[in-house]
């Protein structure tokens, strides 16, 4: 990983040797992504989802539930600063939502699908994306995005848990069979899992280690969003607001750092969303996470 000294901002157009070296180190460390699938999938010990899909469907009818939030917020780390490591950026992100599971096809599931798609339709051309403009670099200007596709897929749906390796293989198969739009350099596939499905990434699991993650397969960018069914991923929010909050976290990270550690990254504090984790605001009527601003030196 880059050292603290290396985390200082580098020239976007010509990353320093230090930054390049740091990038290689980051990349070397991240090799574990693809190697980490030695996990044996164990019977699920997690409780059943605490929130039913029906509740998700009603969520948008409820007034803002930000007052219900009782999770601890992350104070922005002192000396946080994102440095650019020369990698790709999603300049006009083209989101494709994939709802993988049998429950997404039920009436209540469809309501949630529509609500999440409405969220992306509203948020991609919103001030949330405008604020990422400061991370533009020569030749890569970050602007508004759009929702370009959505698909509910029930075939081969996970039953108990699903590994990142399986998701990657499935995504490639969906692309090859044209079930989902072909990727462009700006495409970001958001894969939502059924309630109760545990996501496994290397030695880490959803809920205990993450509420979502983003990654890439040789230039194909994707985010995995397990259904929030635990206190660590709800923190007092409704499931729908938790989903939009964590989705916005992964969205902004994927735009500014689509290949983790090779875009805008802080060696000590992580990506743009990590620095401000679990601090929220409302944009276009939706709960979204605050993101780190180098210019303002704050979570905004």
């Amino acid at each position: 990983m880059p050292t603290k000294k290396q985390a200082t901002r580098t020239s976007p157009a010509a990353p320093s040797k230090r930054a390049k070296s740091a990038t290689v180190k980051v990349a070397a460390k991240l090799v574990r992504y693809s190697k980490g699938e030695h996990i044996i999938v164990a019977p699920l010990h997690h409780p059943k989802p605490q929130i039913a899909l029906e509740e998700l469907g009603k969520a948008r009818k409820s007034p803002s539930d930000s007052d219900l939030f009782d999770g601890q917020t992350a104070g922005a780390a002192a000396n946080a600063h994102l440095a650019y490591f020369g990698g790709p950026l999603l300049t006009n992100v083209a989101v494709v939502t994939i709802f993988w599971g049998k429950k997404w096809g039920t009436p209540s599931g469809v309501t949630t699908v529509n609500n999440l798609n409405a969220f992306f339709t509203a948020i991609l051309p919103s001030p949330l994306i405008d604020q990422l403009h400061e991370y533009s670099v020569p030749g890569k200007v970050i602007g508004h995005g759009s929702l370009v596709g959505s698909k509910v897929i029930t075939v081969n749906a996970p039953v108990v848990s699903v590994t990142d390796t399986t998701i990657r293989a499935q995504l490639k198969a969906w692309i090859a069979s044209k079930k989902v739009p072909k990727p462009t350099p700006n495409t970001l596939y958001f894969i939502y899992l059924d309630p109760g499905i545990v996501s496994i990434m290397g030695g880490s699991k959803s809920c205990s280690s993450y509420c979502g993650y983003h990654n890439n397969i040789s230039g194909v960018y994707y985010a995995v969003m397990p259904y929030p069914n635990c206190s660590g991923c709800l923190g007092g929010l409704t499931a729908f607001n938790a989903l939009t909050g964590t989705s916005s976290h992964e969205l902004c990270e994927a735009i500014t750092d689509p290949v983790p550690g090779r875009g805008w990254y802080d060696s000590n504090n992580g990506e743009i969303g990590d620095i401000c984790a679990w601090t929220f605001k409302t944009v276009a009527g939706y709960t979204v996470q605050k993101e780190w601003s180098n210019q303002q030196n704050a979570c905004v």
């Binding site: 010990h45 992350a74 880490s204 280690s209 635990c230």
Partner: protein, 125 residues
């Protein structure tokens, strides 16, 4: 006189053996004392505990950060019966996890949470 010497020698030997036996069964060294971080593959996540050891008893505290999720504090109680380490870790969110593993080389704890077959590793910081 000679018989007395023999008896004294035997008693001394027994005392020595007894002492050695006591040494073998004495409390384990505080090898677990210190800060341990779970090795995680997802950037943005961390799980760090600091342990104190008194004999076989372990206590401690820590912090966690869930990627795209909340962060908070941890409380730890447990035991160390070489080489087995058993920890019960409670989070401020009300979750409780049980880690059972072994100490490897003094700087790694390898085991599993909640009886899972997925191995996790804590590395000494």
């Amino acid at each position: 006189m000679c018989q007395r010497r023999v008896v004294v020698s035997i008693v001394a030997a027994l005392l020595s053996l007894s002492s050695a036996a006591c040494h073998v069964t004495s409390e384990p060294s505080p090898l677990l004392r210190g800060t341990w971080a779970e090795v995680l593959t997802v950037p943005g996540a961390s799980y760090i505990i600091t342990l104190d050891q008194s004999g076989v008893q372990l206590t401690g505290s820590g912090t966690y950060t869930i990627e795209a999720g909340r962060q908070g504090t941890l409380q730890v109680v447990g035991t160390y019966s070489p080489p087995t380490v058993a920890l019960t870790i409670s989070s401020d969110a009300g979750d409780r996890r049980t880690f059972v593993g072994t100490l490897i080389g003094g700087d790694q704890l390898r085991g599993a949470f909640d009886g899972s077959s997925s191995l996790v590793t804590f590395a000494r910081r």
